[in-house]
């Protein structure tokens, strides 16, 4: 397997930003409602993560040496641009638990930039890794919607029709993903 293919599959599976780094797991759990509408919804969020990662990488690349302490500030700016982009698309409107919904999408936008920055990738590597990350996020978002839909319509006791069951199902998925470490 070539280095690029290895980087892509690692970002998609063993270093999946949603399952391995928990970035966006909360958002996927609360925001995915049904499989039907999650395909387009997840695509919008994945595009936002992709664009923000490119922007964050460019900001970081252009930053002069010795100003590394400003990296979180730059990532905050690119994160806010991502939030604005999603709001233009009609997403992240309203509140959840008395907080604006955009607060719940900060972690995947900000965190994925930090992961990319930490790995010190060049441009092609960053694009490859980000592509793996967003595909991983997209799949987990759609899987979570499917799990939630199945849990809600099941005949189980109401105590099992909760987020704990969704998380348990995601844990089983994670067990499968960690198996790829062995390959």
């Amino acid at each position: 397997m070539s280095e690029t293919a290895r980087l892509f599959t690692d970002s998609l599976l063993t270093n999946n930003m949603t399952i391995a780094y928990f970035l966006g797991i909360l958002f996927a759990v609360i925001e995915s409602k049904s499989i039907k509408n999650s395909f387009i919804k997840a695509l919008r969020f994945a595009i936002a993560i992709f664009l923000v990662n490119i922007l964050g990488w460019i900001f970081n690349y252009l930053l002069p040496a010795g100003y590394e302490a400003l990296v979180p500030a730059l990532f905050f700016v690119s994160t806010m641009m991502g939030i604005s982009f999603l709001r233009l698309l009609g997403e992240l409107e309203g509140e959840y638990l008395a907080m604006p919904k955009f607060l719940f999408f900060l972690a995947p936008l900000f965190g994925s930039q930090w992961l990319i920055q930490g790995a010190n990738y060049n441009y092609p590597e960053m694009i490859t890794s980000t592509s793996g990350h967003i595909l991983g996020f997209y799949l987990i978002f759609v899987f979570t919607a499917a799990i939630k839909e199945k849990v809600i319509v099941s005949d189980a006791s109401p105590v099992f029709k909760k987020y704990s069951t969704v998380l348990a199902a995601l844990a089983m998925l994670a067990m499968g993903i960690i198996g790829f470490h062995l390959i």
Partner: protein
């Protein structure tokens, strides 16, 4: 699923990121919990001062600054922290639980959430450190090469432990409710 969420469920949802990423060891969990409380209280104090329409953006900027400062300062202040400070300390600034203070009208509203968060962090970290590493507070209790259940210290284990804690909390509260209903019907 979002209907009638109890306080502990809200805490588990809002604090999911530190609960999953910051509970590999008890010391790490305690440090991340203290950092969360410090940031939450500062955000709570600031939310009473900032009354702008864009106050949330200011609060996010402040929370990220605070979490980044703690991420840099903690390894220098706490000697044992050097190996256990991970990027989840920095991600506290983008974790919804630190913004609870901005929605609370009074500090009494904040206390039940933070106390439950502390409890869940300690429980999750104790389980993960003991089963995943065979130690408690870095004191090795089992053979280091053979932890009771090594996968618990990795990412699938983190999700599994939180889901089990959540499920048990749900079962306990639903049993309590059933008992209450039962005693009321007897009366």
């Amino acid at each position: 699923m979002d209907k009638n969420l109890k306080i502990f469920e809200k805490v588990l949802l809002l604090g999911l990121l530190p609960l999953l990423g910051g509970t590999e060891t008890l010391i790490q969990a305690l440090l991340i919990t203290v950092s969360t409380i410090i940031i939450s209280i500062i955000i709570f104090a600031l939310s009473n001062i900032i009354h702008e329409a864009n106050k949330w953006y200011w609060e996010v900027a402040i929370a990220i600054t605070l979490s980044y400062s703690l991420y840099l300062i903690l390894p220098k202040v706490v000697p044992v922290a050097d190996n256990i400070i991970n990027h989840y300390f920095l991600f506290l600034g983008v974790t919804p639980i630190v913004y609870l203070g901005a929605t609370a009208n009074h500090r009494k509203d904040l206390f039940p959430y933070l106390s439950k968060f502390i409890l869940f962090m300690i429980i999750a970290a104790s389980i993960r450190e003991f089963l995943g590493l065979g130690s408690i507070f870095n004191i090795q209790l089992t053979n280091p090469a053979y932890p009771p259940l090594g996968i618990i210290n990795k990412f699938p284990g983190a999700i599994l432990v939180i889901s089990v804690i959540w499920l048990l909390s749900n079962l306990i509260t639903s049993n309590k409710n059933l008992k209450k209903e039962g005693s009321e019907s007897l009366v």
